[in-house]
Symmetry: D2
Subunit: 350 residues, 4 copies
Amino acid sequence: MTGSEKTRLKVAVVGGSGYVGGELLRLLLPHPAVGDVRAFSESHAGETWGGVHPSLAHLGGGKFEPPDTAGAAAWADVLFFALPHGRSQEVIPEIPPAGPPLVIDLAADFRIHDQTLYSAYYGEHKAPSALEGFVYGLADVEGSRLRGKGRIAVPGCFATAALLAVHPLAAAGLLGETPTVFAVTGSTGSGVKPKRTTHHPVRAHNFFGYSQGGHRHEAEAAEQIRRWSGEEDGAIRILTHSAPIVRGIHATLLARVKEPLPDPGALFRKAYEGRPFVTVMDSPPELAAVVGSNHAHLHALSREGDRVVVVDCAEDNLVKGAAGQAVQVMNLALGHEETLGLGFGGLYPC
Amino acid sequence: MTGSEKTRLKVAVVGGSGYVGGELLRLLLPHPAVGDVRAFSESHAGETWGGVHPSLAHLGGGKFEPPDTAGAAAWADVLFFALPHGRSQEVIPEIPPAGPPLVIDLAADFRIHDQTLYSAYYGEHKAPSALEGFVYGLADVEGSRLRGKGRIAVPGCFATAALLAVHPLAAAGLLGETPTVFAVTGSTGSGVKPKRTTHHPVRAHNFFGYSQGGHRHEAEAAEQIRRWSGEEDGAIRILTHSAPIVRGIHATLLARVKEPLPDPGALFRKAYEGRPFVTVMDSPPELAAVVGSNHAHLHALSREGDRVVVVDCAEDNLVKGAAGQAVQVMNLALGHEETLGLGFGGLYPC
Amino acid sequence: MTGSEKTRLKVAVVGGSGYVGGELLRLLLPHPAVGDVRAFSESHAGETWGGVHPSLAHLGGGKFEPPDTAGAAAWADVLFFALPHGRSQEVIPEIPPAGPPLVIDLAADFRIHDQTLYSAYYGEHKAPSALEGFVYGLADVEGSRLRGKGRIAVPGCFATAALLAVHPLAAAGLLGETPTVFAVTGSTGSGVKPKRTTHHPVRAHNFFGYSQGGHRHEAEAAEQIRRWSGEEDGAIRILTHSAPIVRGIHATLLARVKEPLPDPGALFRKAYEGRPFVTVMDSPPELAAVVGSNHAHLHALSREGDRVVVVDCAEDNLVKGAAGQAVQVMNLALGHEETLGLGFGGLYPC
Amino acid sequence: MTGSEKTRLKVAVVGGSGYVGGELLRLLLPHPAVGDVRAFSESHAGETWGGVHPSLAHLGGGKFEPPDTAGAAAWADVLFFALPHGRSQEVIPEIPPAGPPLVIDLAADFRIHDQTLYSAYYGEHKAPSALEGFVYGLADVEGSRLRGKGRIAVPGCFATAALLAVHPLAAAGLLGETPTVFAVTGSTGSGVKPKRTTHHPVRAHNFFGYSQGGHRHEAEAAEQIRRWSGEEDGAIRILTHSAPIVRGIHATLLARVKEPLPDPGALFRKAYEGRPFVTVMDSPPELAAVVGSNHAHLHALSREGDRVVVVDCAEDNLVKGAAGQAVQVMNLALGHEETLGLGFGGLYPC
């Protein structure tokens, strides 16, 4: 408990009826530093949180309010946006300059500063001037550097897994050429709205690739890799697949390294030393072991004369890849203990 | 092979784009007695069969034609209807009296002759006069009695499982009071159109009851039980549930019997002796063992001084509970070998 | 937080390497009233908790100690037994009379006082004299009546679901004859040891009945029904099935009632008024909505002139049906707030 | 039907109780060119085929005989070996020189002629002299070149998918450097014996990598790539993963090409023109669309200035990746129509 009731945070979630919004509410409602919570939804205004997200019924809670960015901004200490990509850049500019001290956006809109990269994957940005204030909130890498930041873009779910896998190599200047990530996602990654590829008869025992000509998360990941490595043309391929899983992302990185790396595990352990939510494992991670938690599990090995490194990364796409990381980012920005409200271990087996 | 190419049947499927329609095509295309096949669909007219039903792509095949009941009736030797419930009674009356020798309907519309029973579950029938020509095609019970029939209503998926489980008891006059069937179905039972309860994140690890105040299939099942037992108020409860399975129905019958039945297995084995698609097992059936086949597996035991009988029945809802039984009915009606084109064993494990 | 560090409970888990043991540790480690935790395991002595139960790795934690009932009894304030059925009656008598103030057993061994009932399902009891001290801890029904109890047997997973569904009817004297429960369980119910029926290729898309001639949980459930209804021959049938689910039990109760019950929902709501972990829903419960939580969701409807009642109950077999109920029982016995450490909502979708 | 009863083949399956053996029986029993079938099993001798493989019960069939390689060799026209890797090289040398005209081995033992490659992945070969007679039976590439062959090694399941994806590029001399295949497999790939990683609670919602330091199938795939490309150091990485699927393999190939390939689809369509079991799709293949069939679905795209090609390949691991390809190989070797007995389309949805 970090403060008395009257000093607890007022937190608003804009776009609360999707899976990420529901997960934000699940994590924020019992968060020790959070006092009042409000949630806004266009499609479910007037409905109870528990009616839309069944497990919230057990946590008590209120009703979704109709969208009111200005009102939310005036009221909240922390404002989360969990809107569809492209929508954040329309509404976030509505926040007055004296807006809430902390705005955390979970869409892609404010993750990428290089407009060439952005437009190659997303088209033209509608509010490029609003980008300036935002930093990229890859919490497990940035850590205390996020303290005091007021505008933070939470990384995408695939980008989080890919970047956690590639960061130690990129930061050490070891990347020999464009690395490749083979990633799989569960069906919650496709959102709350039923469609053919998430129809149970179709998805239950299926597996298929998509966006393999260039997944959008390659853009934000490339920007970070360039930043870490100092190489202007740094890039990464993220080949994405849909698996018959509900929650979770598993990423396998294949990277050629500039010089032999006989013990990649040591490099990774050092890179994530003291980071509370990243564990470098002795064997390839099981996705199920992190489902429901904010933890990422990594494993690295080398092969082919130690010139090729394979890194596996497992995370819960809705927690580490979205809402959990967003809460972690809030903790870091506000100077709370990083793990506050995130100390749960996951559900296994599940 | 039962005949030369020129004597093979011309078969039409009206309503071919749903799961039952696709399954009918899958079974009819390689059927030795079937020559030409045509399929009609309102929603997918002009599309290829393989584009709509992926596994049909391997069987070659044509395109869906726009609905044309009269044209189909004039052309076909056998006309299958796989339309939504309520739609068959609108279009089947369009078939001219000199229509095809064999019409097989897979909807509920022509399964129930007692209009009190029908209307209690479905509302008023739009074409009651068309009912007269139809017989109820529970193939594994009726067998050769279907020979020469020209208008056959294929039982519902739950009704098939429930009736196979209850038939030996009802026919022996043993039913002491209203028996209860607890049944579970896979997600294909909900059809091809995505909705919340078949959304993969919702359905993948879920289980829930529905229609437990009175499932529609109770009506047709009651009519058959009355016919078999001679008791005017014969009835059955079918309490239905959705399971995270794609294909299959599992039904558990709980019945009090009028007199102790110490060896219900013997009664069941005798009742289904020689029936090619019903196997009375020595232990409770596994649903997976019948998936992809036209077989039903049954098991019966008694308890509580042999006054209570528990019968389990497993079937593939799309094969035995729909398309497979429809083809079996076609074989029986036309005097072909009952197993013709249905000799496949299923896919296990799958 | 209910006390300072030095007054927190010392808690021991005997049999900590199974799924129930792991779940106990998951709930006890962050429990506000719990201080030190120790866990004992014969098969995994010396291994870390997180090595055996992956999600515990995130919670820190220790190592399994070799079995030492006497030592555990001398050390602990609360002693949980999560041993295979039949094993508790061998080791619990080893606890000295001045043993820990609270012993909670999760096996079947001390649930049933009527030795005729017990032996019909389990064979002869090895320590019937040890039974006397034990009460049956159906937490959501017993509530504050458990306060001060020192020896509590936690109900079985199926029995919990069945009894929550039948209790309001039994207590109101409405049961007309032996009710039937159709129940399904996930694969964690079969334990941590791989076997054919939990082999993924076999189980993943399967469904089958077992123990339908008389499931063991019928015994403890019958004893409670007799106690509630005052009818000496009270009984219940529990027809159990295995579903391709990992966690959870869904039970459907079919009961004839002595007099018409037009609004069973009202009876159920009144019966569970104020009980924090039972919710009477307006529509049939979804199992997924309670997975990972200590909540049970119920729904009741009547049919056939209101003389037949159908009640659905959904619970997490490892939480409400085992470890969660055990912690709830601990809270109640020790006079803590009933929901202490159990306020989590579950994971949905999952 | 290709011949009268008396000229039909006598076929024996040695090692018939595993998943591949069961699948071989499922395909051989109704195969038009096959007459008598016998099956041998050490672990299940004396048991019925249907008792071991539930779906075979519907096909009739016999009992497993105790191992008798010499007897089987003397009796059979075609002898299939579906033994664990390493076992074939022990028993196949027992076949007398005048043995059956056709021996088809499904283990890894006779797939690799380069003993340096073999031993790097498998250790020393016990019967290298027996290797000479064997050819590598990648049916969809070799086609009619298999005619008349008497000793054929069926490719591994991962190798089949990887090689179908890489063959057009390798044969065209386009491979710029070692290509990488990211592959996932269903749980049947782990065999019939329960273990932790196929325990349903562990596997049902899990995903994890394994053998990523060098999967054994890299050896046989490298040998073929060298043969096709003429490059002595040709190689391929196969990074394997376990998915919560029962049947099927999905492989994603990432290859840099020596010169820009703007239309890889055209290259692939030309390479597989007329091959009955390979379809080059217009969009990424769905694994479910080939489950239960002998078909492989491929899709190719280029990216990054057309210098990088991504190829997806989906197959059923037990059919195309094992038993189906083995029957296809038999057809080709004996000069039967390639598709004989393999004309089924699969089960979708399933």
